[in-house]
């Protein structure tokens, strides 16, 4: 099975051909957004982290921004910096990291360009040239082994697990069985189901890592002294019939399909190999999407019974639901309706049908989020309390 994608210099496949405008800190988030808004084919990844980052957050943010820039859906990257030196994140370190892929990377700096207006003007002009160059790259026929599918869930109900998450997992199984890769995150939503995933680990090291990330997360929650129940499962989850975090987790891990777990990676790290990976992320879906994009996912499926509206700047997010009412009510949010009876009785048929949509979107069909451009919200993860 094949799709039509962009072959990059590092041998990876893009499903989109965008120029990423990445801010190195909160000081340039607005600038990155404004540059991206002015030039067709550009998207911004802006965030709120600043020069007060300390270890390990500094390393996490560095690697997240670098690995987002390395994502094969970006043909090139412009890093926007205020121009301060240490302790700000060095834009040249970010740019050099991204440039390892062989893609064009440029830097623009507000201070060195002589102020905000000049930097915006220079940045827009640089982005214009990069987008023009990128537009000359053509799609070509590539094997689905080059797809890396992120799987996400949000607004879960008791049917998300056996229906929509199972459908995502079934499509992911086919991609992985054909030599591809994919993964999922949301560590707190694995609490109670970590043994299910760990039992599929390819070796003892991966197994131990899988259990450790979940136990560490749970320990942090307990140590915080906050009441976890009520946030996860949340009041809407409970109203819909989910009774415990274990029950939610059992449903959540269904989206990981049935293949062996090959790798467990930290937030902002890139998955290395083929097969299934788990990325340590919080339960916040938006941040989890960032973790999947940094891991190298070039397409994402997202089961949502409550019709979560947002997408992601440069990875297409295919929204799937089992809620027929929502699917007809929110056609500008949801891309695919899973039939509950078919999923419960003939899951492989649903997985194969969803894969057809994944291949279409990977080949250029736009998701509802992309059509209306509702892809601008993004965030990343840090651990330490704000200093």
């Amino acid at each position: 099975m094949e799709f039509s994608g962009y072959l990059r210099a590092d041998g990876l496949a893009g499903t989109r051909n965008l120029i990423g405008i990445i801010s190195n800190g909160v000081c340039t988030s607005d600038a990155a957004n404004r540059i991206a808004r002015e030039v067709d084919g550009c998207v911004a990844f802006s965030h709120r982290e600043n020069c007060q980052l300390i270890s390990p957050d500094k390393e996490i943010v560095y690697r997240t921004l670098i690995n987002l820039g390395k994502n094969p859906n970006l043909a090139g990257v412009l890093v926007v910096s205020a121009g301060c030196t240490d302790p700000c994140l060095d834009p040249l370190v970010i740019a050099d990291g991204i440039a390892e892929t062989g893609k064009p990377v440029e830097v623009c700096s507000i201070h060195q360009d002589g102020g905000l207006m000049k930097a915006l003007s220079n940045g827009i002009d640089t982005a214009r040239k990069m987008a023009g160059d990128a537009s000359r790259i053509k799609r070509e026929t590539l094997p689905i082994s080059m797809l890396r599918q992120g799987v996400e869930c949000g607004g879960s109900t008791p049917l998300s697990g056996p229906v929509t998450n199972a459908a995502q997992g079934s499509a992911l199984d086919i991609i992985i069985e054909n030599g591809g890769s994919g993964g999922f995150g949301e560590t707190p939503e694995v609490i109670g189901a970590e043994q299910i995933i760990a039992a599929r680990a390819v070796n003892a090291d991966v197994k131990q890592k899988m259990i450790k990330v979940v136990q560490d997360y749970e320990a942090n929650l307990r140590n915080s002294g906050l009441n976890f129940f009520g946030a996860n499962p949340d009041p809407q989850n409970i109203k819909d019939g989910l009774s415990s975090i274990e029950e939610k987790a059992v449903g959540a891990v269904r989206k990981g399909g049935t293949t062996p777990l090959m790798e467990v990676i930290g937030f902002g790290e890139r998955a290395r190999g083929k097969g299934l990976f788990f990325v340590d992320t919080p339960g916040n879906d938006l941040i989890s999407l960032t973790g999947l994009a940094a891991a190298g996912c070039n397409v994402i499926t997202y089961s949502t019974e409550c019709a979560v509206p947002y997408g992601f700047p440069f990875v297409p997010v295919i929204k799937i639901t089992a809620n027929r009412d929502h699917f007809h009510k929110y056609p500008d949010i949801l891309d695919y309706l899973v039939d509950i009876d078919t999923a419960l009785t003939h899951l492989d048929e649903v997985g194969a049908e969803l894969l057809v949509l994944i291949v279409e979107v990977a080949s250029g069909r736009r998701t509802q989020n992309e059509i209306i451009g509702y892809t601008g919200t993004c965030d990343l993860w840090t651990i330490a309390p704000a200093a």
């Binding site: 109670g192 929650l221 996860n232 409970i238 019939g241 009774s243 274990e246 059992v250």
Partner: protein, 95 residues
């Protein structure tokens, strides 16, 4: 005819309603070799769980072949199973 309810794995002691089901509704649910015959003792909302057997206090609730919590009350077959009569062990509500 749409499926009204489902038991996800043969050793589960709860099923899931796939529609709002009324008290007295009778279900014959096949799962693997098992046949679960249940008469609902109370209304079960769409997607919520009902017991397919008697579950004693402290006994495990099994759904999709996995532990999802323990019973905090004795639960009869056909009764609603939710936060009022079961709890997870990894996180608990405030009292």
């Amino acid at each position: 005819m749409r499926i009204k309810a489902v038991v996800l794995a043969p050793h589960d002691n709860v099923g899931i309603a796939l529609a709002d089901l009324e008290t007295g509704f009778e279900l014959d649910l096949n799962c693997g070799e098992h046949l679960f015959e249940v008469k609902l003792a109370e209304p079960i909302p769409y997607q919520h769980k009902f017991s397919v057997t008697t579950i004693g206090i402290g006994e495990e609730i099994i759904k999709d072949d996995v532990f999802i919590g323990v019973a905090t009350d004795e639960i009869q077959a056909g009764q609603h199973v939710h936060v009022h009569n079961m709890t997870g062990t990894r996180s608990k509500p405030l009292h």
